[in-house]
Amino acid sequence: MDKTEITQELATIITPYTEEKTALESLDENTDFIADLKINSANLVDIILDIEEKFSIVIDNDSMAQMLTVKDTVRIIQNKLNAG
């Protein structure tokens, strides 16, 4: 899976957790989950769990700690997919 495909899947996962539709439509690698999409911090866990289910990967706590932007999240998903 390339970066574009992962980003598209990620956008679908994020959709139910944000009301910032404009930020979602213009989502790119610099989009920040909290600053731009105003995602509630308790819902970031849901996004991590959805990612684990969708991509069949396990996100450890050290990786989770870095997952605040689209760019870092896509990088971590890609690394986990390649490692698997």
Partner: protein
Amino acid sequence: MLGNDVVDLLLAKTQSNWRRKNYLAKVFTDAEQQEIWEAENPDLMVWLLWSMKEAAYKILNRSIEQRFYNPKAFACQISKLTNYSSKGLVCYDGKTFYSNSKIHNDCVHTIALSTQHPVKTIKSYFGLNQANYVELFNQNHQSFRLQKNNQGIPEMLNLCSKTKSVASISHHGKYLFITHL
């Protein structure tokens, strides 16, 4: 240094399903999970512990000037719990934060401190979460000015003494809390 966090319990109920598989294990230590399942009100315990973690994270985030998302690494110990309040410690990477929480009908509010500061000297303002809350606060408190410093961090300027202190703002759902030393 201080940090504060509020959880609107009614909103949390619809916004988050903490009973979802693996949710608790991602956020809470084994001891915290046990505390949740043994609690009289597990929903309240989830959000009490969550607000302790968030309030402590806000202090750390300011002092190290770095953002990260690792709630499980903030280990909470509740030393006192009544129907209306709670006290405890939050430990992260060898650092200890002191937490004081108030439990209201439909919200939980925690103030965390990096030192054992007497909690009575902390000023805490409660209001409704509206877009213009800074303006409203400043209109209603003539001797204070809530503002952001160069790094975008909230601070409270005391217009009488001309002193500045660290402020922490938290809003969720209907609720807004502004705290300062």
